[in-house]
C-alpha cells in the first residue's frame, strides 16, 4: 500500500516536471547541440550544409573583428557588473532605511528596467548628443570636457556602460531589497545592544545574510553582460554603418548576429556562439566553485 502510493507520487512528479523538461529540451538542449553541429559546417541558411571541420574556428581566430568583440565584451562585463551591483547595494540600503516615500522611489528605480531596450537606447542617444544633449549641457556649465559620447570611438564604450548601469540598477536593487528585508530585525537589535558599529553590522550580519542574493545577482549579471546585444545594437545606430565606432562597441553577440543574419554564415555564427557558450560556462563554474568562500546559507 505504502509502496504503491510512493510510486504514484513519483509518477505525478514526472508529469508535473514534464512541461519544464520538454521545454528545456526543445528550446535549450536541442538548439545547443544543433549549433554545436553547425559550427563544424559551412551553411548559408539556404542551401546544402557541408562539413568543413574546424575552418569556422580558424577563420574566427584570424578575424580582427572577433578580437574586438572579445575585448569589448570583457571590458563591458568587467565595468558593468561591479558598478551596477555596488550602486544597487547602495540604493537597496537606502530604500531599506525606511526613508519617506520608499514605495515611490522603488518605482522610480525600477522603471528603467521595464522600458524597452530600444527606447532606452534612443533616449540616451539624445541625452548623450555632444551638442544638444543634456549630459554635455551640464558638463559645459561645470566647465568639464564635453566628449562626443556617441561619435568618438574612445568614449562609446563608456556611454554603453553608463546606459547599461542605469537600466540595470533598479532590477538588482529591488531583488537586494527583498533580501535585506528577509533579514530578521532581531539580529540587528541584539548587535546594536552589544555595541557593534554600523560597519561591523554590515560585514558581520547584512553581507553574509545577503550573500546568497548577491551570488545570484552576480551570476546572472555576468551572464547577461556577456550576452549584451540589443541596447548596443540600437545605440550604435544604423545597422549599415561600420568603421571605428562600431569596432569600438561590437560585442560577441553583435558578431554572431552579423554573421548569421547579415552575411548568412550560419557556421561561423555557430562557432562564435559555441565560444561564447564555453566562456560563460567556465566563468559560471568558477563562480560556483568560489561560492564556498563567501556565500553563507542559513
Amino acid at each position: 500500500m505504502r509502496k504503491r502510493k510512493f510510486k504514484q507520487e513519483w509518477f505525478w512528479a514526472y508529469v508535473f516536471i514534464a512541461p519544464m523538461v520538454i521545454g528545456t529540451l526543445i528550446f535549450g538542449i536541442v538548439p545547443i547541440l544543433y549549433s554545436a553541429g553547425l559550427s563544424l559546417m559551412k551553411w548559408d541558411g539556404l542551401g546544402e550544409k557541408t562539413f568543413n571541420g574546424l575552418t569556422n574556428f580558424v577563420n574566427l581566430m584570424k578575424d580582427e573583428k572577433f578580437r574586438y568583440e572579445i575585448r569589448n565584451t570583457l571590458v563591458y562585463t568587467i565595468a558593468v557588473v561591479p558598478i551596477t551591483l555596488m550602486l544597487s547595494l547602495g540604493v537597496a540600503n537606502l530604500l531599506n532605511k525606511g526613508l519617506q516615500a520608499t514605495g515611490f522611489f522603488r518605482v522610480i528605480y525600477f522603471l528603467p528596467n521595464i522600458v524597452m531596450p530600444v527606447a532606452v537606447a534612443m533616449v540616451w542617444r539624445f541625452l548623450l548628443n555632444s551638442k544638444v544633449g543634456l549630459v554635455n549641457v551640464f558638463l559645459r556649465v561645470l566647465h568639464l570636457p564635453t566628449p562626443g559620447w556617441i561619435s568618438d570611438p574612445k568614449y562609446i564604450m563608456a556611454s554603453l556602460v553608463i546606459i547599461s548601469v542605469w537600466s540595470g540598477v533598479g532590477y538588482n536593487a529591488i531583488i537586494m531589497l527583498a533580501g535585506l528585508q528577509g533579514i530578521s530585525p532581531s539580529l540587528y537589535e541584539s548587535a546594536r545592544l552589544d555595541g557593534a558599529s554600523s560597519i561591523r553590522i554590515f560585514w558581520k550580519i547584512t553581507f553574509p545574510l545577503l550573500s546568497p542574493t548577491l551570488f545570484f545577482l552576480t551570476t546572472m549579471s555576468i551572464m547577461n553582460s556577456m550576452r549584451a546585444f540589443d541596447i548596443i545594437y540600437t545605440f550604435i545606430g544604423k545597422a549599415d554603418q561600420g568603421g571605428p565606432i562600431v569596432d569600438a562597441s561590437r560585442t560577441v553577440v553583435f558578431g554572431i548576429y552579423d554573421k548569421a543574419f547579415k552575411f548568412l554564415n550560419m557556421g561561423g555564427a555557430s562557432a562564435e556562439a559555441m565560444i561564447l557558450f564555453f566562456m560563460i560556462a567556465v566563468i559560471t563554474v568558477v563562480q560556483f566553485k568560489l561560492q564556498d568562500k563567501w556565500v553563507f546559507y542559513e
Partner: protein, 415 residues
C-alpha cells in the same frame, strides 16, 4: 490552493496544445474549392495598394484566392530564408536587391516562358530594375516599383543667402561653389552622406566609375572611385561646406536637412514624403550634379514566385496580373510603379515639387553593386572603409581604397 495549481496546469497544457494546433501549415484549398496562394510583403505603408491589387485580381477570375501577410522588414529575410527551402514559405513575395542569393540557391521560379506566353512586355519596365531579377537570360521577378534619385534643396536657405537655385546642368564645381556660398555658422551648404545608394555611389557613377565589374568582382580602388570619394572628403574637411562624418554620427543626415542645418542633400524618392512634411514647399528637387556624365543609383522591387510552391500555376497567374498596367497603377500611391507611364498618380501627390526629376533619373541610373560571392560580407568591408574615411580628417583615400580592394577580393573569392 492545491486544486488551483492543478487546474492552472491543466489549463496551461491545454492552452499549449491549442496553440501548437493552430500553428500548423495553412490549408491549401479554401472551403469552396478555390486555390489559395500565400503572398508576403513587408511594407505596412503599401497595404492599401496591395489590398486593392488583390481584390482586383480576385474579381478578374474565380478560381484563385490570395492570402496576404505583412511580415515586418526586420523579420522578412530571416523568414524567407528559413521558410522557402523547406517549402513552408509563401507562393508569391516581394524581392529586392538580395535576389541573387535566392536565384543562386534555386529558390525562385523561372518565369520566362510563362511571361512570354502571357504576352508580358519586359521592355515596359526600367532596364536597371528588370536586370536585377534576370540571370543567364532567365527572368525571376516582375518589376514592381523603383527609386529615383535627386538633389534635394532647401529653398529658404538659398533665398536667405541670395544663391540661385540648382539647375539641371550643374557640375561638381557648381555644387562646391554654391555650397561655399551657402555655408555659414548656422548651416552647411551640402551633406556628403556616408550612404551608398543615396550618397557616394551617385558621385562614383557621375565620375564614370563603378564599384564592381561585369563579373561581380570589386573595383573599388579605380581612379574614378578615388576621385569621387576625394571630392566628398574635401567637401567635409578641405572646404568645410559639409558636416564631417563625426557630426553625422551625432545627427542623421536626413534630420540635419529637414531641420535646416544644411541647404542641400542627395536622396532617393522614398525621402520626399518626410522632407515635404517637414519643409513644405521650401523643399525642392533638382537633378544630381554631374562630373563626366549624369549618374544616379536606382533600385527596384519585384514580385517573385517560390520555386517549390505547390500552386505554381495559380501563383504565376497572380504575378502576371500584377505585371499589367492596370495593376501597377493601383499600387502607385506609396512607390513609383515600374510600368512605363503609370506614375501620374504619384506625381500628383507632390504638386509643389518637380518630382518628374526623380522619375527621369532612372534613365541614366545604375543599380547597386552586387558582388559575385559573399556579397554582404564583401560590401561590409567597403562600408567599414567609408565609415573610417568619413571620420578621419587626414584620411589617405587611395591607400584606404587599395586596402579595401585587397580585402574585398579575398572575401569575394573565399569559398
Amino acid at each position: 490552493m492545491k486544486r488551483n495549481v492543478k487546474g492552472f496546469m491543466a489549463l496551461a497544457i491545454a492552452g499549449g496544445l491549442a496553440i501548437s494546433g493552430l500553428g500548423g501549415i495553412p490549408s491549401v484549398e479554401a472551403s469552396d474549392g478555390k486555390t489559395v496562394i500565400n503572398f508576403y510583403y513587408w511594407d505596412e505603408g503599401q497595404k492599401e495598394g496591395m489590398d486593392e491589387l488583390i481584390s482586383m485580381f480576385e474579381t478578374s477570375q474565380d478560381e484563385i484566392v490570395v492570402e496576404s501577410t505583412i511580415v515586418p522588414w526586420g523579420e522578412y529575410w530571416t523568414k524567407l530564408k528559413t521558410a522557402l527551402p523547406t517549402g513552408t514559405g509563401p507562393d508569391v513575395f516581394w524581392m529586392n536587391m538580395y535576389a541573387p542569393d535566392y536565384m543562386n540557391a534555386g529558390l525562385l521560379l523561372d518565369l520566362t516562358d510563362n511571361l512570354n506566353e502571357a504576352g508580358v512586355d519586359m521592355s515596359k519596365y526600367p532596364e536597371a530594375v528588370s536586370e536585377m531579377y534576370t540571370q543567364d537570360g532567365k527572368i525571376y521577378g516582375v518589376p514592381k516599383d523603383y527609386d529615383g534619385m535627386a538633389l534635394y534643396y532647401n529653398k529658404a536657405i538659398f533665398d536667405e543667402m541670395g544663391v540661385e537655385y540648382p539647375t539641371a546642368d550643374w557640375t561638381w564645381d557648381d555644387l562646391l561653389e554654391k555650397a561655399q556660398a551657402l555655408t555659414n555658422e548656422s548651416h552647411y551648404g551640402f551633406i556628403a552622406r556616408p550612404d551608398g545608394n543615396s550618397g557616394y555611389q551617385n558621385f562614383i557613377y557621375e565620375n564614370g566609375g563603378s564599384l564592381v565589374d561585369a563579373d561581380g568582382m570589386p573595383t573599388v580602388n579605380g581612379k574614378e572611385v578615388t576621385e569621387a570619394l576625394q571630392f566628398e572628403h574635401d567637401l567635409m574637411y578641405e572646404y568645410k561646406v559639409a558636416p564631417t562624418g563625426t557630426e553625422l554620427l551625432e545627427f542623421a543626415p536626413d534630420d540635419m536637412f529637414i531641420s535646416g542645418q544644411a541647404a542641400m542633400i542627395t536622396s532617393g524618392s522614398w525621402s520626399i514624403q518626410t522632407y515635404v512634411e517637414a519643409l513644405g514647399s521650401d523643399c525642392q528637387i533638382a537633378e544630381l550634379p554631374m562630373k563626366v556624365k549624369k549618374g544616379a543609383t536606382t533600385h527596384g522591387l519585384a514580385y517573385s514566385v517560390a520555386a517549390n510552391s505547390s500552386n505554381k500555376e495559380a501563383a504565376m497567374k497572380f504575378v502576371e496580373f500584377a505585371a499589367t498596367k492596370e495593376a501597377q497603377e493601383v499600387t502607385a500611391k506609396a512607390a513609383i510603379p515600374a510600368y512605363e507611364g503609370t506614375s501620374e498618380q504619384w506625381l500628383e501627390l507632390y504638386p509643389d515639387q518637380d518630382v518628374q526629376i526623380l522619375l527621369d533619373s532612372v534613365a541614366y541610373a545604375s543599380p547597386n553593386p552586387y558582388y559575385a560571392k559573399n556579397h554582404s560580407e564583401t560590401a561590409q568591408i567597403f562600408t567599414d572603409t567609408i565609415s573610417a574615411m568619413w571620420v578621419d580628417e587626414n584620411a589617405d583615400i587611395q591607400a584606404m581604397l587599395d586596402e579595401a580592394q585587397e580585402k574585398m577580393l579575398e572575401t569575394v573569392n573565399k569559398e
